[in-house]
Amino acid sequence: MMFFALSKQAGQIAVTNADVQEKFPGLVQEITSNLGAFLPELILAVGVMWVIMADLFTRRERSRRMGFHAFAFVAVALVSVICHGFSGDQELFRGMIVDDGFGAFFKVLLLVGTLICIPMVMMTRSFDGRRMGEFYGLLLGSVLGMFLMVTAKNMIMFFLGIEFASYTSYLLTGYLKGDRRGAEGALKYVIYGSVASGAMAYGLSLLYGLTGSLDMADVAQGLIVSRTTDVTVLIAGLLCFAGFGYKIAAFPMHFWSPDVYEGAPIPFTAFLSVISKAAGFAVLLRFAEGMVGTGNWELTLSNGDVVGVDWPLVVGVISALTMTVGNFAALFQRNLKRLLAYSSIAHAGYLLMGIAALAPGAENAIPGWQAILFYLVAYLFMNLGAFLVVSIIAEKTGRETLDAYRGLGSRSALLSVALGIFLISLIGLPPTGGFTGKVQLIKAVVDDGQIWLALVAVVNTVVSVYYYARIIRLMFLEESDDTSKVPLSAPVSAFVVLMIVPVLWLGVFFGSTVDFIRDLTLTLG
């Protein structure tokens, strides 16, 4: 028994270097050779420690300069991802993570988003006089966690990446300690987040139990070969979805997001609503693709049996509920931050359509995951752009409510036109990236034969026009008592313009991006 084992162990405790060499020949060489492809993560890890350490040697009033350091690290990481290229096709660190085009694409997406968020943080005055080393350390740590999420192949890395990104997000939400809404948002975030990750751990353990492996490809294989069609697979899948759904704020795991989005500092709300969500979708996509192995949701075995739960229907229903809940709740919001929170729930619903349509039935159809990737690019720019304007207005007027936008058209042409473009893109009207992205998502589900889901999406889009257009009407058609101009410095104006360009570009010249996404590799082993 146990004690017997313990006492016996004493005589046999040493594992020598020779043992390791014998058991794992070439281990050290293998791991060092993998470090090259792991360079962006290493840069981020160094950056995390650098900003925390360098901040100790900086005077408090200069602490906000840590933003430049963080920006530099993120920029260098971005360069190293791009230099590494999008054609990787290998497993790293003994199958823990993969190096593929899909992962590289998401890394670029996350880093570009972070590059947009850091200047927003530096523009925010409520951070003035605070130590910012910890903030940027946590922010870079969060991005590092998401890097692991988007490249994970092993369930340990899925779990670890999600938890890394989550814990740092909990702390960043409550970073403004004096702010009661922030602290309460952080508290709700951590409690419900922990329970979601507990559920996910249980779901992952069931998958492990069913297949005997932690590797996603093995799990997929195991589920196919053992032909487990029973309830346990459904339970495991749904529990795992609880964890991933929490990250993307999908129904019914969405309830935290309005409170957290409203309580968090605006730049971090922007980060959560776009970057965190993109990483969540990457995990969900990889997991979904992994679960089905060959890219088909239902596998027909040689003897004609069809294996598996009807996942497209399950995801489709979740998608429809998510977008409906988000849009209808957004109708009644007075606070723009909260409105954007509900709108981002609705967008998670639109994006989930792509997962419901992972296996296109028709020839030359757009596979769901490519539509998701394109929409995420457009969503990155339009939603971050909207948050940028909200952040600028909140800085200038101190208000986040809709009243602050009354008559904005005559007070600042640039800001109102920019916000108008971002909102039109969020509605999904041409000539913006939101339109082309949504068309691809809807085409993907139509090709997959789920016409009802496409109809739900269209109806939801019509509903969403009401609350987005209300803001546009407020800005251009209503008069404000305060007619003073909103002063904008040249760099801030340039920043806003820089956000508009990609939104319009993706709406008009979308072909190159679509082609780029089509050529990405998705390695699952």
Binding site: I52, R94, G129, A217
Partner: protein, 197 residues
């Protein structure tokens, strides 16, 4: 000890194992119920201690000796003590996260929980849990390479794996602990920087 070894020990050992198992199971489940129904939060912390010890015992019973010890050190020595600190900080004015749950809601929730539990156990019973012997998937052929060396204790094997196959998560978790604890210290620190607090 392996299943085969257990088989050789015969009936007496089997029932002895069963007695130990059921004792540990009771030690795990009964305090867990105590946490949910108890009114006194300090009692709950000690109920939690019981559950955690029970789980540690179950780990040992499953020959996961290193994990059992880690469970005692980290969970009981760290997390449970942290929770006790939290209780001492907030004992007089507990922090409620939402409105009280009404009695009928509790009754229906308990009913639902029992139904879910029965359903779950039912579905587990119906599931065919494959084992290595069944050789389910070709991708799992390397299963034996990772098999536990029987009777030697798991510390050495675990350590070898943590520094070979699982070196990436092992390193990442250390960065995670660093970043998260620095951040936690920042949040918990008294704010000398003004602000409204």
């Amino acid at each position: 000890m392996s299943a085969a070894g257990r088989g050789r020990e015969g009936e007496w050992a089997l029932s002895f194992h069963a007695i130990i198992f059921w004792a540990l199971a009771a030690m795990t489940i009964v305090p867990a119920i105590g946490i949910v129904v108890s009114k006194n939060i300090v009692h709950m912390a000690f109920w939690l201690l019981g559950t955690l010890l029970g789980v540690a015992g179950l780990y040992l019973h499953m020959e996961a000796d290193f994990l059992g010890m880690t469970q005692v050190f980290v969970y009981i020595g760290g997390i449970n003590v942290l929770l006790l600190f939290g209780i001492m900080l907030t004992n007089r004015e507990p922090l409620y996260v939402r409105a009280a749950v009404k009695r009928p809601a509790i009754a229906s929730a308990v009913l639902l929980g029992v139904v879910v539990a029965v359903g779950l156990i039912q579905s587990f019973g119906a599931t065919e849990w494959h084992t290595v012997k069944d050789a389910v998937a070709p991708g799992l052929a390397d299963a034996s390479a990772k098999a536990v060396v029987n009777g030697d204790g798991t510390a050495a094997t675990l350590g070898t794996y943590l520094l070979s196959d699982y070196i990436l998560p092992f390193e990442i978790v250390s960065i995670l602990l660093l970043v998260v604890l620095v951040g936690a210290a920042y949040i918990a620190r008294r704010d000398p920087e003004g602000g409204s607090a």
